[in-house]
């Protein structure tokens, strides 16, 4: 009974929802990229850039715009907004490197992504030294004014889940629905999927394969950057080296589990978010905490091993498209 209440109480579920968001946003980005035929292992590095730029720009804006008449430490409401945007821009710029190397120069996409991750670690450390004098963390910041659901917040049992809601959470759900609509209903989505399934056929029909693939990769960069910004601004209240904890890779697993569809990725991200929350909460048991912290990673291996479902990737996923040799 004690175990059951530990596994399914409201505070845990609220924490699971919060931790689902970064994985969900990144998995959604991965869907765009891979539907266009580009594997993006670099999402982890893009998230790292998002965490760094999100927190540091929020901090810079907050110090540049003191709130008149408020006590010290109060932050202008615009600061986290600018921080989130900066995280997205950083994500787009960083993913541009992947697009240039993997789409234009047709270098193996795994290699490009892996190198991007290494670059992100060095870059974040360097910039952090430059801005804040230390390598591994930024000053603390405050995020958005949290929301609460009007009627539900008065029910004591539901309070943990109905209050303290980051505005990024509904935004993520909107982006998820938008993603589904774009991929299924729009010309852009159809073309993106076409270059991921059969680039030669798409090319023959006059679709610019490289341009569509760039679009997919850059959108994935924006979403992974946003996810990173959410982690550092809303979850961590500051940047800390290594705070992404492999979530970029976990998001790729969520995308695969969701069969390369946005709504499928929601279920898988929620699963990982739950394990993530569990790994933070179940510290007071006899199980050594080191094993509990790797619960999301163990779950990822299980999911990838397909113990639940077989996945079908886009046919040309990961294969560079070469016009002259096709």
């Amino acid at each position: 009974m004690e175990l059951l209440s530990a596994l399914a109480n409201m505070a845990l579920l609220a924490s699971a929802v919060r931790l689902t968001v970064p994985i969900l946003l990144t998995a959604l980005g991965a869907v765009y990229s891979e539907r266009g035929g580009v594997v993006n292992i670099g999402l982890e590095g893009i998230m790292i850039m998002g965490t760094f730029f999100g927190a540091s720009v929020t901090h810079l804006v907050a110090t540049a715009l003191p709130v008149p008449g408020a006590e010290a430490g109060a932050t202008h409401a615009i600061a986290p907004v600018v921080g989130m945007l900066a995280a997205m821009v950083a994500g787009v710029l960083f993913s541009l490197v992947h697009a240039v190397v993997a789409v234009t120069f047709r270098v193996n996409q795994i290699i490009s992504g892996v190198v991007l991750n290494m670059l992100a670690v060095g870059l974040a450390r360097f910039l952090n030294i430059l801005f804040f004098g230390v390598a591994t963390q930024s000053p603390g910041i405050s995020g958005f004014e949290p929301w609460s659901v009007p009627v539900l917040r008065d029910v004591p049992a539901l309070a943990p889940i109905a209050t303290g809601i980051s505005p990024v959470i509904p935004l993520a759900l909107i982006l998820l629905g938008l993603g589904h609509w774009v991929l299924v209903r729009t010309v852009f989505g159809l073309r993106l999927r076409a270059v991921g399934e059969h680039p030669l056929a798409a090319d023959t029909l006059g679709i610019n394969v490289a341009a569509m693939r760039y679009a997919g990769v850059l959108i994935s960069g924006a979403l992974a950057g946003l996810a990173g910004g959410y982690l550092s601004i809303e979850q961590g209240r500051g940047y800390l080296e290594g705070m992404t904890q492999g979530r970029g890779f976990i998001a790729l697993a969520a995308m695969i589990f969701g069969n390369w569809w946005p709504l499928g990725a929601l279920g898988a991200s929620a699963l990982f978010g739950y394990f993530d929350a569990l790994s933070l909460r179940v510290v007071h048991t006899r199980i050594p905490y080191q094993f509990i912290t790797v619960l999301p990673h163990i779950a990822t291996i299980f999911v990838l091993a397909g113990f639940m479902r077989r996945a079908v990737p886009p046919a040309a996923d990961g294969i560079p498209y070469t016009k002259e040799e096709a």
């Binding site: 290699i111 490009s112 892996v114 190198v115 290494m118 091993a305």
Partner: protein, 380 residues
């Protein structure tokens, strides 16, 4: 002939151009923080080349990088991505450490090889699950090996802090295993080098794993180039369909190469643990597995290229310490430089490969186009 020479020059020039490109990008960063790039590079060269302790440090650092690069390269050779060297070497080094302090009274000729073998076996064992899931269930090995890295790090931390921590260190901030038996330590190279007249600083931990790494790379090169198994490996990499049609069991070849990759990964940490520290502690060097990816990419997955590539990265790493101490440039600039060089080099190799392929195609077309003329000439 002239075409072949030109292509050879191009292939050799690609890494140099990539290094130059990386240096240009890093110069921009160094300028941005208000330092003179030429001065920084000059300092780095002087620091690395004119001090005997620097030279020894570069070779010492290149030792684990050689194993890491070879481990990654072996998996890349069969189109698999072992990003899990990081976890495999942590597990391998810790297992070797268990043997090194746990078994007492063994003579050195048994104790040291036993510790090394346990490290190798543990590295391979940590690679077993990802490759089995890849071949049986199609689970992408990039993600599973990265997840295994996190699990390895947690497992080693748990075993170190909660199970095998040196009881005499309790109450101190030091978290490490008991000291190893002397019989499990890797002998240093210094006495031998002094015999041949090479002076090594007395504090240098340069040890026999350096020549072992070189020999292993030579052995791997021979295996891949001259044996039946190596032929199968090359066939699987070049054209899996043709290899399968020729009766080569692709999954089996990939399985063995991936386990070999994990086994070599098990050696990565041993030069540091058994050759230098003499105990396994919480600050055990990390990140060598990811540097191994850089080494393998730089070496184009050729075992013969692994040693020079490892030396280059070790050179940059040592130089980074020098510039940090003497010119106040953060060593992370060199980390960025490394990543940019690797990016430039993979792009460079890709462009050269594509150019070479186009040249060969053109030559072949010329040959084919030439032939009918000859036969017509004979007919007429």
């Amino acid at each position: 002939m002239s075409t072949r020479v030109r292509l050879g020059v191009l292939q050799a020039a690609a890494p140099l151009l990539a290094i130059a490109f990386g240096a240009v990008v890093a110069s921009g960063i160094i300028l941005a923080i208000g330092k003179d790039p030429l001065e920084v590079y000059g300092l780095m060269l002087r620091f690395n080349l004119t001090r005997s302790d620097s030279v020894a440090a570069i070779f010492l650092k290149a030792t684990p990088l050689t194993f890491a690069g070879l481990a990654v390269a072996l998996s890349f050779r069969v189109n698999l991505w072992n990003i899990g060297v990081e976890g495999q070497y942590a597990v391998g080094a810790f297992a070797a450490a268990l043997v090194a302090f746990g078994m007492r009274g063994l003579p050195a000729p048994i104790h040291l090889p036993l510790a090394v073998l346990v490290g190798v076996a543990s590295g391979a064992a940590w690679a077993l699950l990802p490759i089995a899931l890849k071949l049986r269930r199609g689970a992408h090995e990039v993600i599973t090996t990265i997840m295994m890295n996190y699990i390895a790090s947690a497992l080693v931390l748990y075993l170190l802090a909660d199970v095998f921590r040196d009881p005499t260190q309790a109450g101190t901030p030091r978290v490490r295993t008991p000291l190893f038996e002397d019989s499990a330590r890797i002998p240093l190279l210094r006495p031998v080098l002094q015999l041949v007249g090479i002076d090594v600083p007395s504090h240098s931990a340069l040890n026999w794993f350096l020549p072992l790494g070189v020999v292993l790379c030579l052995g791997a090169a021979y295996l891949l180039a001259r044996t039946r198994f190596g032929y199968e490996v090359r066939a699987v990499a070049l054209n899996p369909d043709a290899a399968e049609a020729a009766g080569i069991r692709i999954a089996r070849t990939q399985f063995y190469m991936f386990l070999a990759s994990g086994a070599v990964a098990g050696l990565v940490g041993l030069s540091d643990v058994l050759g230098f520290f003499g105990y396994f502690d919480i600050d055990f060097p990390k990140g060598l597995g990811f540097l191994g990816i850089s080494v393998a990419l730089l070496a184009r997955n050729d075992p013969l290229g692994v040693v020079p590539a490892a030396l280059l990265l070790a050179f940059l790493d040592r130089g980074a310490q020098g510039v940090q101490v003497f010119s106040g440039v953060p060593r992370e600039v060199i980390t960025i430089l490394q990543a940019v060089i690797i990016l430039a080099i993979v792009v460079g190799y890709e462009l050269v490969t594509r150019y070479v392929r186009a040249q060969r195609k053109r030559e072949a077309e010329r040959l084919v186009a030439g032939r009918p003329d000859v036969s017509e000439g004979e007919g007429g």
